[in-house]
């Protein structure tokens, strides 16, 4: 009996020791994890600030090269707190590449210049262009959702041009929907009537070269205007000048990218891309900033009704 109880004490002691060991080890483990996480996150912040500094430097160095096609390089530099950075700046789009607009929501809009953004002189003077829109990586065609795309957008296009006959700026609106196919069943409908004025995608799940050479994927590609549209070419005849295209997303609550690709030739240079990377410790952060020039407020896409003259307060 005595032997039995001394055995129990050993077991009890062992249990207590195991529990104490577990608590101690987990606390030490957690503290090691916390320390390494906080060091990494501090390094990451430093690297990010350094990359931002490099972007600022690139913007400054590139100031005299706005609209130019050369690439500005920012030499690597060190900021005081052991962070280093370098950057480059270039103009976009290059050659016949599309100009891309980073994913945005329906609250805002994408703008593409067809005229020279500084002088409004004629630049893109072709019959048509291609529009790419929709993020192909989500909200794919899904039979369980009634065969419809839950969240792929439709787009509204405003083509702004100078009508030289009437001596006025005018807009031409076009709508494109990303229904699954162009057949009668899935063609865009209003009150169950097929709408021929609303076009569907020409090509789905497609990719194109954008900006200064990257490849990007889009859900939908359309030719604007389509060959069956009336008029079937952009309003650029005579002395008319194509000014810009503005693209709004409709019927989606997520972000989608949009790109505009010239049908023939190239688009005027209208944005600068800045790429920078910053390092601190073993952490490297890369940043890409696209600076679009001369963006017009969305308000002017729509007619304003006012009893008296409008004044800017």
């Amino acid at each position: 009996m005595k032997n039995n109880s001394s055995g129990q004490v050993v077991i009890l002691l062992l249990l207590i020791m195991v529990v104490a060991l577990a608590i101690g080890l987990s606390t030490i483990g957690r503290s090691i994890l916390e320390v390494s996480t906080s060091r990494k996150s501090e390094d990451s912040s430093r690297a990010f600030s350094a990359a931002e500094a490099a972007i600022e430097k690139a913007i400054k160095q590139n100031e005299n090269n706005i609209g130019g096609t050369t690439t500005t390089q920012v030499n690597p530099f060190n900021l005081s707190n052991a962070a280093a950075a370098s950057a480059s700046a270039g103009a976009t789009p290059v050659g016949s590449n599309a100009l891309s607009f980073a994913p945005y929501t329906k609250r805002t809009f994408a703008q593409f210049w067809l005229a020279n953004p500084e002088t409004m002189a004629r630049s893109y003077n072709e019959d048509y262009f291609y529009l790419y829109f929709g993020d192909p990586n989500h909200d794919k065609y899904d039979e369980t959702k009634g065969g419809r795309l839950a969240n792929q957008p439709a787009v509204e296009l405003d083509i702004v041009y100078w009508d030289d006959t009437d001596k006025k700026y005018k807009t031409l609106k076009k709508y494109y929907d990303s229904y699954r196919d162009g057949s009668l069943i899935n063609a865009p409908r209003i009150n169950n009537t097929t709408q021929s004025s609303i076009s569907s995608c020409d090509v789905r799940d497609t990719s194109t070269l954008i900006d200064d050479g990257a490849t990007a994927n889009y859900y939908c590609q359309v030719r604007v205007p389509s060959t069956s549209d009336v008029p079937s070419i952009l309003p650029h005849s005579g002395n008319n000048i194509l000014i810009m295209v503005r693209v709004r997303l409709l019927y989606t609550d997520t972000e989608h990218p949009v790109a505009l690709k010239p049908g023939i030739g190239s688009l005027p240079t209208q944005a600068n891309i800045y790429r920078a990377s910053g390092t601190s410790g073993d952490v490297k952060r890369s940043l890409e900033v696209t600076n679009y020039r001369g963006v017009m407020p969305q308000l002017f896409d729509y007619v304003l009704f006012s009893a008296s003259n409008l004044k800017k307060e």
Binding site: G24, R30, E34, E42, A50, A53, A54, K60, N78, L79
Partner: protein
């Protein structure tokens, strides 16, 4: 003979095991306060880093003309979660070795201080800001 065997006491192995176990436990218990301190320290560092980041974002949104050289203090809603905190940012002209081609830029150094067990700790973030740059 059997009686002697019973009274032999503890073997060397058992003794070593006990010594090792007690030693490990002692080391663990001794290092617990340091571990807890370093957990607190890393929490504070993360918070200070967030405050410094936020201040840099705020400064970027200010007009560039408002950045005049010198030391300024600032405060933040989360700053007082740190023990005896202080926060400052220093604006200076971009040092020549960084802005070698004569770019007009300001160097911003945001520092957040706090105290831990009588020792002053800090987090420091540096960046550059220019006119019509990011956030403008």
């Amino acid at each position: 003979m059997l009686k002697i065997k019973n009274q032999r006491g503890i073997s060397l192995i058992e003794l070593i095991l006990v010594v090792v176990a007690v030693g490990v436990l002692a080391v663990l218990i001794a290092s617990l306060p340091a571990s807890i301190q370093s957990i607190r320290n890393s929490g504070n560092t993360s918070l200070a880093k967030e405050i410094a980041n936020k201040e840099i974002d705020l400064l970027r949104k200010q007009p560039y003309s408002g950045l005049s050289n010198g030391m300024n203090t600032f405060t933040d809603a989360s700053l007082f979660k740190l023990p005896s905190p202080a926060a400052q940012y220093e604006v200076s002209d971009c040092p020549i070795e960084v802005c070698a081609s004569g770019e007009v830029a300001k160097k911003i150094k945001v520092t957040v201080f706090w105290q831990e067990a009588g020792v002053v700790k800090k987090v420091e973030l540096s960046t550059l800001m220019t006119e019509r740059g990011l956030g403008q």
